[in-house]
Amino acid sequence: MTRILFAKLLRDLRWPLLIVALLLGGFQCLWAKITQRIVAELLPEFLKVMRMGDLTGILFKGPGRLMQTLMGGETIALNSTLDMLTIGYVHPLMQTIFCVWAIGRASGAIAGEIDRGTMELLLAQPLARSRVVLAHLCIDILVIPILCLSLWAGTWLGTFLVGMLQFNAPVAPFQMGAAANSTG
């Protein structure tokens, strides 16, 4: 019975899930391109006129420190491809999409069923209430990894398309960290 409910809930969610997964994956794909632009094209130009430590000092000064914390803290290296890619995972747009998804699921699952008036029909069947809750939990256990996978798939596709993983950063992360420490 849980399986039947699970299949029905998955069917109900398939379009929102597809749209959100495409949004998340698409953003990560785009973020890979942004990363490539920053690390491979913009940063080398900046480094022609200033040292890495000076640049991070300017960017993360004052309110910028908050941005640095959001991006991953003091160990974040702007010239590191992998560090830049991780920023895509904590980007406010990602957080917003996940929040909207979580709120939508929380309000649309059990409460939504009651609100739409379909719960009465469902509970009139020979079905334990716990089964209904279990089916919703199973959906979340499946759907959340799917959304995470869509993020990784987006990153993978993006890096595949821009060929970034072959890119050699102009300054190695440890050097940048050392530069940052020396300035800070």
């Binding site: 039947i4 029905k8 109900d12 008036g117 379909t118 009465e120 029909l121 069947q125 020979p126 079905l127």
Partner: protein, 290 residues
């Protein structure tokens, strides 16, 4: 007995929604639950479905307690809610298949036969169906479930007269198959048409139980006399309901000839004899005079 409710009571805080309901329904019986809004019909149905925990008393369906063994009890029930909300993103066929699978009985070819009889386009999305058509789909699901007890909460709402007759016909067929039916309604004529017994609820109490077969022998007599008779004949089952300006309104349950003999000796100007029906009984509790 298929359904047995004993002193079933439900309180919402200080408000008593259902008070000491004692009721039995046998297999192959159609029972009508009558009462205005707020009389306790829906509370009684919700208690039977195990949605609510009784404050006192108990109800069993096929021996299964409606609260403590509600899943087994609901296996015996097919339910049509009064305020119908269906999964609008499904087609009629998907909806029937979903609920049938939940009951553990995958849909059979009988569904198509029933759909043809009820004139339902099963492959249309529910969102594109009218409210009457949706009700027919839900009714089909109830009939296809082959449950021992069909509970229908105001099933003829939004149905056109033809469909209403078809529904009542389906209820009679269910009775012939040995299924019991409990249905609530505001429409007395349809209750008279199909029910074997009727219960009238008033402020949560079952105030009247009526066998319809008894009612078929009862008559309402409205007679207009040139001069009001001095006294009524002493016939068992004869009651004076109202007297006004040489007009008598009588209720009579018994053989007609003795009453007709008496009437023939009176100065009758006009006379109307008709089956009593449920209306006078219902209005005794819920009419203006009640």
């Amino acid at each position: 007995m298929l359904l047995r409710a004993e002193e079933l009571t439900k309180d919402y805080g200080r408000f008593r929604a259902l008070d000491d309901l004692n009721l039995t329904i046998a297999p192959g019986e159609i029972f009508g639950l009558l009462g205005p809004n707020g009389s306790g019909k829906s509370t009684a149905i919700r208690l039977l479905l195990g949605f609510l925990r009784p404050t006192a008393g108990s109800a069993t369906i096929a021996g299964h307690d409606c609260w403590h063994d509600s899943i087994a009890a609901r296996r015996e029930i097919a339910y049509l809610p009064g305020e119908l909300r269906l999964y609008e993103n499904m087609t009629g066929r998907q909806f029937i298949a979903f609920l049938s699978k939940l009951r553990g009985h995958p849909p059979t070819a009988e569904i198509d036969e029933l759909a043809r009889r009820l004139d339902i386009a099963l492959d249309r999305p529910l969102v594109q169906m009218s409210s009457g058509m949706k009700r027919k789909v839900a009714l089909l699901q109830v009939l296809a479930a082959h449950a021992s007890l069909l509970i229908l909460d105001e099933p003829t709402n939004t149905l056109d007269p033809t469909m209403r007759d078809q529904l009542l016909d389906q209820l009679k067929r269910a009775r012939e198959r040995g299924q019991a039916v409990l249905f609530s309604s505001h429409v007395l004529s349809e209750v008279e048409q199909v029910c074997d017994r009727v219960g009238i609820l008033q402020r949560g109490r079952l105030v009247h139980l009526q066998k319809m077969v008894d009612l078929s022998e009862a008559r309402s007599i409205r007679a207009y006399f040139a001069e009001t008779p001095a006294k009524l004949p002493e016939l068992p089952g004869l009651q004076l309901r109202n007297e006004e300006d040489h007009r008598l309104w009588l209720e009579y349950q018994g053989p007609l000839p003795p009453l007709l003999d008496w009437l023939a000796r009176q100065p009758v100007v006009d006379l109307r004899i008709e089956p009593l029906g449920l209306a006078p009984i219902y209005h005794r509790y819920h009419g203006v005079e009640a």
